[in-house]
C-alpha cells in the first residue's frame, strides 16, 4: 500500500522553497510502499499492554523500526506518537497513558534499530552531508517521521481514534512538522523544538546539539551559504501557520541548546492555536512541572484519563 501526503498546504500549489521541499519529500516517500511488518515482542509485552516491533519503508528504501504498545482490551484507542529526540536510542514505550492509548515510538534513519545502512553519530548527525541538499541526512529525517505516521495509520494491530504527536528537542520539531503535513493528527505537545534552519541556530555560543553547526562552520567557514541553504527549509517556523490543531508548546528562558526563547516565542505567535508555556529558571523548557501539565493536556485532548 502506498501512503502519501494527505495535506498539501496551499491546495497543492508550490509557492516557496519550503513548499518545494515538502513536495519533494512527499514524492520521495511515494516511491516506496510503506510495507509495514509488525511482530509482537513477547519479552517486553506486559500484562496490561502488548508491545510490538514495527518495521516499514521510508524514502530511499530505508527500513525503519518503531516500538508500538497497544492496551489490552477492545479498541479503538487514541494514539500518542512520541517523536524521537536527537540521540541514538529512542526509548521503548513509556508514558503513564499507555494503559489507555496506543503509543508509538518511531525512529529515523541512523538511530538504533534503523541503522542497517547508515549509523548516525552524536555529535555529528546535525551536519552529516550538510554541504549539499541531496546528501544532508536531516532532510530525510523529516521524511522518516512522516512515514512513521503513515505506518501507524495502516497497521492492523490496533484500531485508532485521535492521534497526538509529542516530542522534545528535535522530536518537538518533528512533531510540529508531522502536524503540518498530516491531517490525521489531532493535537501536538512539543517541548523546546529545535531551531534547526532558523538563523538563530547559527549564533555563536550555543550548546549541543545546535553547536554542531558552529563547529562545522569553524572548520569550514567557506561553506556558510551552503549550511544556510540546506537547513533553512527545515525551520519549523516556515510551516507553523499550517498547523491547524491545538499545540502545547514549552520553552525555557535560558535554552541555548535547542530552542532559544526568541525562536520559541516567534513560533508560538505563528501557530494558530498555541498554548505557550515559558519556564523560568529552566535551562530547557518543560521539566517535571511541564511533564505533568502535558500528561493532563494530552489526556484531555484524547478524551482519556
Amino acid at each position: 500500500m502506498v501512503v502519501g501526503s494527505d495535506w498539501t498546504g496551499n491546495g497543492g500549489l508550490v509557492t516557496t522553497s519550503s513548499d518545494r521541499f515538502w513536495q519533494e519529500t512527499e514524492a520521495a516517500l511515494a516511491e516506496f510502499p510503506v510495507d509495514v511488518r509488525i511482530n509482537r515482542d513477547d519479552f517486553y509485552s506486559q500484562p496490561d499492554w502488548d508491545v510490538f516491533q514495527m518495521r516499514y519503508t521510508s524514502a530511499d528504501g530505508f527500513r525503519l523500526c518503531a516500538w508500538l504498545s497497544v492496551p489490552k482490551g477492545r479498541g479503538p484507542f487514541p494514539a500518542i506518537v512520541r517523536m524521537p529526540d536527537y540521540g541514538s536510542v529512542h526509548d521503548i514505550v513509556y508514558t503513564p497513558l499507555r494503559e489507555q492509548a496506543v503509543v508509538m515510538n518511531p525512529t529515523y534513519r541512523g538511530q538504533r534499530n534503523s541503522d542497517q545502512v547508515f549509523q548516525a553519530q552524536y555529535p555529528g548527525l546535525l551536519t552529516e552531508g550538510i554541504a549539499a541538499p541531496e546528501s544532508y541526512v536531516m532532510r530525510r529525517v523529516f521524511a522518516d517521521i512522516l512515514r512513521g505516521i503513515d505506518a501507524l495509520s495502516v497497521q492492523a494491530e490496533a484500531q485508532l481514534q485521535n492521534i497526538a504527536l509529542i516530542g522534545s528537542g528535535l522530536g518537538g520539531a518533528l512533531a510540529l512538522a508531522g502536524a503540518a503535513r498530516r491531517r490525521s493528527v489531532h493535537a501536538v505537545a512539543a517541548n523546546t523544538p529545535i531551531a534547526l534552519g532558523n538563523p538563530i541556530s547559527l549564533m555563536p555560543g550555543l550548546g549541543y546539539p545546535l553547536a554542531e553547526l558552529n563547529d562545522y562552520l569553524r572548520l569550514y567557514p567557506t561553506r556558510r551559504e551552503a549550511v544556510v541553504q540546506n537547513t533553512e527549509e527545515l525551520d519549523v517556523l516556515k510551516i507553523a501557520e499550517k498547523i491547524t490543531v491545538p499545540v502545547l508548546l514549552s520553552v525555557g528562558i535560558n535554552d541555548t541548546n535547542s530552542c532559544p526563547l526568541a525562536f520559541g516565542e516567534e513560533l508560538a505567535a505563528k501557530i494558530p492555536d498555541c498554548d505557550l508555556r515559558v519556564y523560568h529558571g529552566a535551562a530547557e523548557g518543560g521539566g517535571h512541572e511541564h511533564a505533568q501539565i502535558q500528561t493532563s493536556w494530552l489526556a484531555n485532548k484524547l478524551g482519556i484519563g
Binding site: 541514538s88 536510542v89 526509548d91 549509523q119 552524536y122 555529535p123 535551562a283 521539566g287 517535571h288
Partner: protein
C-alpha cells in the same frame, strides 16, 4: 512525591555477597594485566578556543576497545585536574568543553555498548541491563564498570593530567557508575552522583513500571526459574554494596518525583556512604530534570577542585 520520611523509612534487602571483595579485586587484577594501549586522535571539528578535543580509545576488560571524548584546556601547560564524566544508560556521552576554560580536562567515557564502543558488545537499549545476567562473570555491567575504571587509568597515564586531582560525576546510570567507580578507585578525590541508577535492584524493579529497571521485571516474567539467580548476580553490581567503600567526599542528588530511579533506592546508596557525604534533595523534580542540579554540580566540583569560581 516521596518525602524525606519515605526515604528514611525505606529499607532494602540488598547485602553484599561474601565474596564481593574477592570478585572485584579479581576483576581489577584481570584488568591490570591488560595493556591500556591508548590511541589519541585530534578532533579538529570539536575543538575550539577553549578546548583541544580528542577521540580516545583504550583497552578494557576482555581486551575490548572503549572510546571516549577527551577535552583538554588550550591554555596553560598543566598538569590539569580532570573529571571523569560517566554516561547515562541510553544517551551518548557528551563532548564536555565547558570545563576547559577553567583549566580542567574532562574524559567522557563511551562504555561498551555505546555507539562508538559497540563493535564487540552491543546488547542494545533496552537490552544492556539483562545482558549476561546468568552469571556475575558474564554480566554486561562487569565490563561497563571496568570501562569506567580504565578511564581512571587513562587519565593517570597522561602527562598533562595531575594524578592527584581526578574527580567523577554523572547522572542516572552515570550516577550509579560514579559511586561504583569511586569505590573501586580511591584515586578519585570527589564525586557527584545524580539520580543514581543501579541501586537496590530487587526493590527498584518492582516500584515503577518504567525502563530501564522494568527490563529486569520483563526478564523475571519471561524466565521465572531464573529470578533467584538474577538477583544473586545483581548483588555484585548494586551501588549500595559499593557505597561503604567510598573514601572520598561524595554527593548524591535525588529528585523526589523521580519516575525512573525511585528516590528511596538512591537514598539507600546515600545512607550506605560512610565517608564525607552530602545529600541534595530536589522536590517537584523528576528524573534528570531538577533545574538547580547542573549549577550545584558545577559549584560543588569547582570547590573540590580548588577553582576560584564555578564554571558558568
Amino acid at each position: 512525591m516521596a518525602t524525606q520520611q519515605d526515604l528514611e523509612d525505606f529499607t532494602t534487602q540488598v547485602t553484599p555477597p561474601a565474596d564481593f571483595d574477592d570478585f572485584w579485586s579479581g576483576t581489577l587484577e584481570q584488568l591490570s594485566q591488560i595493556s591500556l594501549k591508548p590511541v589519541i586522535t585530534a578532533e579538529p571539528l570539536r575543538s575550539n578556543d577553549d578546548a583541544h578535543v580528542f577521540d580516545v580509545t583504550y583497552l578494557s576488560l576482555g581486551g575490548l576497545e572503549v572510546s571516549a571524548w577527551y577535552s583538554v584546556p588550550t591554555q596553560g601547560d598543566g598538569p590539569f585536574p580532570a573529571i571523569l564524566n560517566l554516561p547515562g544508560y541510553k544517551s551518548e556521552p557528551p563532548v564536555r568543553r565547558d570545563w576547559a576554560k577553567k583549566g580542567v580536562a574532562v574524559l567522557s567515557v563511551s562504555v561498551r555498548g555505546k555507539l562508538r564502543s559497540s563493535a564487540e558488545f552491543n546488547p542494545g537499549y533496552p537490552g544492556l541491563l539483562t545482558s549476561g545476567l546468568e552469571s556475575k562473570e558474564n554480566y554486561g555491567y562487569r565490563g561497563v564498570i571496568s570501562d569506567c575504571v580504565r578511564g581512571v587509568d587513562f587519565l593517570r597515564s597522561r602527562p598533562e593530567i595531575d594524578p592527584e586531582r581526578i574527580y567523577a560525576c554523572g547522572s542516572s546510570q552515570g550516577g550509579g557508575l560514579t559511586l561504583i567507580t569511586s569505590a573501586l578507585r580511591p584515586e578519585i578525590k570527589a564525586g557527584v552522583a545524580g539520580y543514581p541508577f543501579l541501586c537496590c535492584f530487587p526493590e527498584a524493579m518492582t516500584m515503577f513500571r518504567s525502563y530501564p529497571y522494568d527490563e529486569l521485571a520483563c526478564y523475571a516474567r519471561a524466565y521465572p526459574e531464573e529470578g533467584e539467580r538474577m538477583l544473586e548476580t545483581l548483588r555484585y553490581f548494586d551501588a549500595v554494596n559499593f557505597a561503604p567503600k567510598i573514601t572520598c567526599p561524595m554527593v548524591v542528588g535525588i529528585a523526589l518525583d523521580d519516575e525512573v530511579c525511585p528516590p528511596e533506592t538512591s537514598y539507600a546508596a546515600y545512607r550506605a556512604l560512610t565517608g564525607h557525604k552530602e545529600l541534595w534533595l530536589f522536590p517537584n523534580s523528576g528524573h534528570g530534570n531538577a533545574h538547580d542540579y547542573p549549577a550545584q554540580e558545577r559549584e560543588w566540583l569547582s570547590v573540590q577542585i580548588g577553582l576560584e569560581t564555578a564554571v558558568s
